[in-house]
Each structure stands twice: as C-alpha cells, then as structure tokens.
C-alpha cells in the first residue's frame, strides 16, 4: 500500500502514549474517529427515524446482523495483522454450514453438527495455511483458490440446494431464538469470540508474535520465531472462526447453503482495514475491526429503516465510507 499516510500520524499518538505511559492507550485513541463516526450515524438514525432507531429491538437486530460476519472479522484481523489475507472466509463458512447440515451429519444431533462445522472450517484453514506457509504460495492466490474450490465443494455436497436444519436439531436454531437478558444467544457467542480474540491478541505471546510476523517477518525469524508454523496457525484460526460463523448462520437462517457468506471476504477485510489495521500487516486491533464492522452494519440498518432504494443506498454508502475515513484521519491528526 502506498504508505503516504502511515508515518506522519505516528508522532502525535506516540506522545500521548509517552505521557500516559500506557501502551494500551494507543489503541483507544486511534479509535476515536471510528467512535465519532458511529455516534454521527446514530444521530442520523435518531433524527430520521426517532421511533425506530433507538429501540432495544433494533439494537438487538443490529447486533444479530453483525454477529456472523463479526466472528469472521476477528479471524481476519489476526490474519491481516500477521501480514496475510484470507479471501476464503465466506466460502469456508458456506462449506462448513453445508457439511454440518447434510442429512448424514444431522443424524448425529446438534452437538456433532457444531463440532463438524468447526472442524471443517479449521481443517480448510489449515490447508490454506499449509499452502501459504510451506507451499510458499502468495496468500491472496492460495485463499482465492480455496474460496473457489470451497464454494464448488459446497455446491456439490448440497447438490446446489438449500439444506434445512431438521426439527430434531432445533437446538441450533435456538441459538438465534432464545434470548437471555433480551439478547439472543448468538450475540453472546459473538461477544465471547471477540473477548477471546482480544485476549489472545493483546495478552499472549501468540498475539505478540502475530504482530512481529506481520511487521517484519525476517526479524521475527531471526529472533527465533517459527514464522511458518505461526502463519499456519493464523489461517487455521481464521478457519476456526469461519466454522463458528457457520454455526451462527445456521442458527439464523435455519439452513446450510452453498450461497451463504457471499462476498463476506470483502466485508470482513473492509471492516478490518477501516478499523485501522494495515493491509501490509504488523499493526491493528480487534476493537477497531469490530467498530469498523458496526459502522457498516449501522449504515445498512439506517438504509433499511429509511427504505432508500438500492441505487441511492449504494451512492450514499460510498459517500459515508469516505466521510467516516476522513473523519478518522482528522481525529488522528489532531493532537488530542
């Protein structure tokens, strides 16, 4: 990426860190712009649809919509910080959902279905990682190939049909319909994945190494980090997230289908990047990615509430993205 923009803002942020003496702060300050953008969108929501936007059911609806892709975004954040990219996420989710909803799998009950989805995702992720780390393929191409192949496989397995979750296995559907304290279970699952992802990235050696591997792979290698194994694990982790996302989408749609997760890869990457992670790796945060995702989700929600037609929506969406990013830039430049 053209780095025109990267070096300049490093200064102000650093100062704040030095002054406060906490490295952790770095992240929060960077997110000010994103939070501001979200707040602005919320204001738009409140003004245009006062009676709908701030209702609890609408907020639940936003969170539920965000949860599937949110789980995937957590995995993508790891991969991108680690200097890679994963285009296969949507397709892996589709494949996992189809595999878990074949009649053969469904015969074993909901727990096996969940295990199956997670295993399929992780396995495919491992294959991605293997091709990239040991087969030395460029991540873009390896995961593109996986994306194509996984969709094909999902179509074959499902015979191009949508597979319903059988009534016996409605436990899975309950994830989306059962509510605890007003929130569907799947929102809790999403929150759990975010929390675990944050802890791993910020509090463990694995997370620390992820930054090193993405920031300067040669330095990481010379510091004794097994860069290949780490890369392998990153893609496996992303695959794992796709497996979990497959469970959520099965819960939400009551189906497994080869069409699930279409273009999720773009959405996930966009959320990660708008959240401040560098496409070239070595920098980024989970919180940023989730905020980025929420911005996209709230935009969609606003459109739904306001009933814009598609064409206008798209134009508006483009403009809002630009505005949000410029807003974020601004907040970065200001000395805080």
């Amino acid at each position: 990426m053209t780095d025109v923009d990267q070096s300049a803002p490093a200064g102000p942020r650093l100062k704040a860190v030095g002054a406060r003496g906490r490295l952790g702060r770095l992240g929060e300050i960077r997110h000010l712009g994103l939070v501001a953008a979200l707040v602005l969108l919320a204001i738009v929501g409140l003004v245009t649809r006062p009676e709908n936007f701030a209702t609890s059911s609408n907020l639940v609806s936003i969170l539920a919509l965000a949860s599937t892709i949110g789980v995937i975004t957590v995995g993508s954040t790891f991969v991108i910080i680690g200097g890679g990219i994963d285009l296969s996420v949507g397709a892996l989710m589709a494949l996992a959902s189809v595999w878990a909803t074949t009649l053969a799998t469904q015969a074993y009950g909901p727990v096996v279905m969940i295990v199956c989805a997670v295993l399929v995702g992780t396995g495919a992720g491992l294959l991605n990682g293997f091709l990239i780390a040991y087969g030395r393929m460029v991540p873009f191409i390896a995961t593109l190939a996986m994306m194509v192949a996984a969709r094909g496989l999902a179509q074959r397995m499902s015979n191009q049909r949508t597979q319903l979750v059988q009534p016996d296995n409605s436990l899975i559907v309950d994830l989306s319909t059962t509510r605890v304290l007003g929130l569907p279970l799947l929102v809790y699952m999403f929150a759990l994945v975010v929390l675990v992802g944050w802890l791993v990235l910020n509090r463990t050696t694995f997370g620390r190494r992820t930054y090193a591997v993405g920031g300067n792979p040669e330095a990481a290698r010379l510091a004794g980090i097994d860069v290949r194994r780490h890369t392998l694990l990153l893609y496996a982790l992303s695959g794992l997230c796709c497996g979990i996302a497959a469970v959520l989408i099965m819960a939400r749609t009551t189906t497994g289908s080869s069409t699930h997760g279409d273009l999720y890869e773009l959405d996930a990457i966009a959320a990660v990047i708008i959240g401040g992670t560098l496409l070239s790796g070595g920098k980024g945060t989970i919180i940023g990615s989730i905020l980025g995702l929420l911005i996209f989700t709230v935009i969609t929600n606003l459109f739904i509430l306001n009933g814009l037609n598609t064409a206008d929506q798209l134009v508006a969406k483009g403009a809002i993205i630009v505005a949000a990013v410029l807003l974020q830039r601004r907040s970065l430049k200001s000395p805080i």
Partner: protein
Amino acid sequence: ACTSNEPAAVSASSAAPQAASAGTDNDKPGEQVVIGFSAPAADHGWIAAISKNAQEAAKQYSDVTLKAVEPTNDINQQISAVESLIQAKVNALVILPNDGQQLNQVARQAMDAGIPVINVDRVFPDKLSYRTWIGGDNYGMGVAAGHFIGKTLKDKGVSNPVILEIQGIATLPLTQERSKGFADALQMYGFKVTAKQDAKFTVESGTQVAGNLLQAHKKIDAIWNHDDDQGIGVLAAIKEAGRDEFIMVGGAGSANAMRDIQADSGVLKATVTYPATMAASAIKLARLVAQGKGMSDLMENEVPQSITLASQTVSKDNVAKYLPSGFES
C-alpha cells in the same frame, strides 16, 4: 413499466388482481394499511421490474402505504430487513425471498406476530410461514420452452439434435425446476439437453458463457436461455460468432425479446413468460388480506392460499398480444 395497464391484454396469468381493477368494490378505499415489502437487490431486469411494479401498484391506492426495505442479496441482511418490518408492525408483508428456505423462519415469526405474509415467487417450505403464495410456474416455463423446441425440431425432422440450455443462477431452486421441466418436455419428443451452463442472470456473463458454448458446439439446433436479460448478451455473442443455424427460445418475457421475436430477424423465435406483474398482484393481495376482503371474482370470502401464474409461450404468432406486458430489461 408497461405492466400495470391494459388488463385485457394480459391473459389468465394475472387475471385475478387485474380483474379487480375493473371497478369492483374492492378498489374503493378501505382502512389505511401499511404494507412492508422486501425483495432481492434489483441488479437485474426482472427483479427491477418486480420492485417497480410493487411501487406502482401501491401508488394506485390511497389507503396503502408501502414500506420497502433495502433490497439485498445477502440472506443475513434480508432477515434483518424483515425483522425491522415486523418491529415496525406493518399490517401485511410482501416478501420475495432470496431463498425461501432460508427466510422461512423469519416469515414464520411475522405470521406468529399476526402479520399476514404474501410470499412472492420463491416459496417458503413451511405453510405456516405465509398466508398466500403467488408465483410463476417455473416447471411449466421449462415445459413450455421444451414443447416449443421439441415441436419445432420434430417438424423440421431433425434427429439427435444438439440442444443447449443457458441457465440463470444454478443454485436457485427455481433454476432447477425450470431445467427439470425443460428436460421432461424434451423427453416427450425423445430429445435431451446436450449441454447446460449457468450465466448468473447478467448480460455480460451471458456473452461469456454463450461465446464459449458456441465454440464447444460446431452445430447447434436449439438453445433455451432461461432469462431474456442475460439473453441480450447471449444474442450478442451469437452475432459476434456469426452463427444462425439454430433457433433460440428466451425466458421471462422482456419487451426487448418480444420486439426481436416480432421482427423475426434473428435466431430468437420465442420466449416463455414469467410475469413480473406478480409483484403488483401481491401488493393487491396484501391489501385485500390486510383489509379482510376477498377476491370479488371468486365465490370465496377470502383470498386463496396459493396462486400459480401460468407461463405462456410468446412466438411470432401471438407476440403482439403480449408485447405490452413485457418488462423493459
């Protein structure tokens, strides 16, 4: 655009709601109703016509407020969209789902919440999920195309013909039904489909797929293309390759295809309809259901549970009659 007028020109396919506009009591303003509407993203002529027909139908009635939500091709988003309509407590819902199975649950939620759902085209598997279904006859469409091609080739005395099929989106159940109908009808003439490919309903992929298919088959007898929108691309590829030894049948019934058929200047000899007017009908049905009215042409007190529109074969002979109901691609 040319769909909501001239009821007389339209045959049985959309007769029921059209008849209503002939001045029965049903058109008189009743209680105010809000109708929610959700459909896939209008990135394609037929779907675009669906949205537009729905809007125009709603505009005819002073007692109807149409609340259309963001059309999307992502199932997850469509679920959210419908959820938001349920929250908004609309009086009736008109849903053309991206996939009936995947949207079933949320439609059921609506019904459970007391909101009648008019299911358009792609059917929900669970009958408790909709009040009334109105849609085209995909199988019948395939059958119609199969009969036209089978009969024409039989008349010509062709044996072992090369018959190609260019589908829309392969993963849609409606595509699979169309193909089945087509194969079953050809069967009656002892023919079968030589090769089929899918072209995603876009002009461009129509060109790509047809361009390659024409290379794969040096002599072709007939092509059935499921969709007139992508058909523009298919025809362009045929023209580019300079081929004309075969006949082609279209699908869905765009005005453009019908003009071609009328002119009879190329390979396109017929198209089998799949009326985009169904959306307008669905809005009318939703209004009737919400207001608790029946369909005055029928003896029943209520709107029927399911309405299947017939697919017609439009060829040179009858094209004049259908041209006004064709949608502009």
